[in-house]
């Protein structure tokens, strides 16, 4: 066993010994159970799971949307950096998606920023029939391989994502907003049926800003409403 595998094994062991490991082999997640027909898989960004996200997950469950919340940097003992998301084992994510699909609910994955990477890798590894049952909402996804000043952007290639339905939630106040068309084109070229919505007057990570605006604070408190609205308007339900 090499050092990386040993570290991963020890990290998994620690979590398995800890409280509430949901399923062996799956990333540690918190379950907000609900009786409704929708299941939302909430994948936090590299800064980890925040209190407003947990609040929103609880509110979604109270409104009938079962929510599984995962913090991948903590689950896999990774530094809180966007690129850490690239190190999340795809087979674990595939197992997680399959466990969700087995619940016989409409499964929607909600991934934030670079957390889109392990989610899309896993979606690409699913069978086409499984992938067609999945909906994915990506909040300001970071799918760059190269994003250097003066250089053309390059995006990750996930292989075939044919049949996958994706809705991108893009805050207007983001350096990525002018680049959104290129990102959408890249996803469409990989077979994604992609749509997007611009979130006006919001910045990336509006719920965890050091100096939030009044509007951002209000939107943080009602983040569950935003997600419900997007789910309903999108029609992926």
């Amino acid at each position: 066993m090499n050092m990386k595998r040993l570290e991963r094994f020890l990290a998994a062991l620690l979590f398995a010994l800890g409280a509430g490991a949901a399923h062996a082999g799956l990333p540690e997640h918190r379950v907000f159970a609900a009786e409704g027909e929708r299941l939302l898989l909430w994948v936090s960004a590299a800064r980890g799971r925040t209190e407003p996200e947990l609040h929103a997950a609880g509110q979604l469950a109270a409104r009938g949307v079962e929510t599984w919340s995962v913090d991948l940097v903590s689950a896999y003992f990774l530094p809180q950096l966007p690129r850490s998301m690239d190190a999340v084992p795809t087979p674990d994510m595939v197992d997680w998606l399959r466990a969700a699909l087995a619940r016989d609910k409409q499964v929607v994955v909600y991934a934030i920023n670079r957390a889109a990477v392990p989610v899309l890798r896993a979606a690409a590894a699913l069978d086409p029939a499984e992938r067609a049952r999945l909906c994915v909402m990506l909040a300001y996804p970071n799918l760059y391989t190269v994003a250097e000043p003066l250089a053309e952007p390059e995006y990750l290639n996930f292989g075939s994502l044919t049949g996958l339905r994706v809705r991108v939630l893009q805050p207007r106040r983001s350096a990525a907003t002018p680049w959104l068309p290129g990102l959408l084109d890249s996803l469409a070229a990989q077979g994604v049926a992609v749509r997007h919505v611009i979130l006006e007057n919001l910045r990336e990570g509006w719920w965890m800003r050091e100096t939030p605006t009044e509007f951002e604070m209000a939107e943080s408190r009602r983040m569950h409403e935003l997600l419900l609205r997007e789910l309903d308007e999108w029609g992926c339900q």
Partner: protein, 173 residues
Amino acid sequence: MKPGMLGMIAGVLLAGAVQAAGFEARPATPAPDLLAQDLAGATKTLADYRGKVVLLNFWASWCPPCLREMPSMERLRVKMTGRPLAVVALDSAETRAEVDAFLAKMQVGFPILLDPDGSNTKRWKVFALPTTFLLDASGRIRYVLTGPTEWDEGEALTKIEALLAEAAAAQAR
């Protein structure tokens, strides 16, 4: 210690290393086109600054690091009065009203250019804010900085002074 805590510590250490990267030197790269209106509605291009060292800063009013470095850009402008340096700040993909609202709170003496449709931001391939380009007096890109700095001191001032000295030497030849 919890694994999450260890991850956080590693993250902080690694994030510090990224920030320390600082100015990126470029081998006298030709600059993309700049075509933007100033607050008076006049169209500006790089030709308007030919013969001067140019500090071209891409910013937005919603970006805290951008706002943190602006006072130092203003101090630099004042410090360099009478010398061939142009400090230019291009607002990325915001409306005129948003820029005006910001300038009502922070007054600056350097020109503000508008890029409401983000076309300049895309031509210059700016993916993070602030991003600043230092151009030599021939209009070529010599340094790129992603992230904020104190422009009137330290490494930033040293690099600007070097470009000014280079321009002066070329003019003397």
